[in-house]
């Protein structure tokens, strides 16, 4: 359980300590890629809670979403259309939805637990 969290911390530490920077012209792509990655992450958590988690879907979704978002932004820049907005909008909405679902599932579980406890105490 703690292993994924350790991975996140390790990645953050590595990035902050090595002080890697990207050219400012690629900043947009990276920000969209981060958004796509966060979307996939929360989608994965939601799927796990709903017990429909699939490893292949998660990993492929992660890379595919990143590439798609960055590609969309790239095409948008070249065509003069702010296509990255589409990616931001789509991922943003999904992110909120996923988090809302996660919240609900957790609340339901909490309720169930409490219910069970009161039941056992009555018995």
């Amino acid at each position: 359980m703690w292993l994924p969290f350790l991975g996140l911390v390790f990645g953050l530490a590595l990035g902050l300590l090595t002080n890697i920077q990207i050219p400012s012209m690629y900043e947009n792509y990276l920000s969209i890629a981060v958004l796509a990655a966060l979307d996939t992450l929360f989608g994965g958590i939601r799927a796990q809670l709903q017990q429909v988690y699939d490893d292949k879907v998660f990993v492929s979704g992660f890379f595919f979403n990143i590439v798609l978002a960055a590609g969309l932004a790239f095409i948008g820049v070249n065509l003069g259309i702010d296509l990255y907005l589409a990616a931001i909008f789509a991922f943003g909405v999904r992110l909120f939805q996923n988090i809302a679902i996660i919240r609900r599932i957790l609340l339901t579980r909490l309720d169930e637990k409490r219910h069970k406890r009161t039941k056992t105490s009555i018995e």
Partner: protein, 239 residues
Amino acid sequence: MKRNMYTRITIVLFIIGLMIAVQYNTIQKPAERDTRDIWAIREELAQEKQRHSALLAEIRSLHEVVDRYEQSEKVNQQAALNETLNRLKLQAGLTEVIGPGVVLRVEPAPELIEMGYEIKEISPDLLTQLLNTLFKNNATNVSIDGNRVVQTTAIRDINGKTTVNSIPLSSPSFEIFVGTSDYKAAQKMYNSLQASTFIDSFYLDNFNLVIEEPIEQLQIPAFDQPLTNDYLAEVKKGD
């Protein structure tokens, strides 16, 4: 199976963390961009070059001193030491200097006196600014109203009197002697002062700044007060 899943999620989270950190770095500390154009870079290069040549000249003169010491080691060490001492005294402004230079006269504007204007003391700020400009234009020795300007000279207002080296100026009319390295430099100084805004700035304070033609033999007095070194300490023998 479950272990495999955790490994993959860990890798994905590691990438996410790295991406977030890189994005954070890029936003927080953007690499400073060099926005200078060719001209600005050339000017900077010229400045550096000037410094380079000044340093080389200094190295050469120090080499000469070393040579002289080495040569005179057997003959007369005292003479070499005296020479160095005199050179350092000259640099510090402790000796009288005769050489090419420009004389500036600061006098109250006569028409304003006739109109009944009250001529006040010259402001230390204006004088300091003039001095800065003189040194920027390669002045080697400067004296204000007979007071030699050295490294520790202070121009300030003491009880309403403008003083140089704590000696009040014989305001309102006094002379500033500006010594230069050669006559050409004196001419250059004269021209740049004529082109500067100082004449107008002095007139704002009701003074006329008269810049006289450069002369070959200008006598600049020595600094006649004891030099105090608050921060320098004598090196002990053998150190």
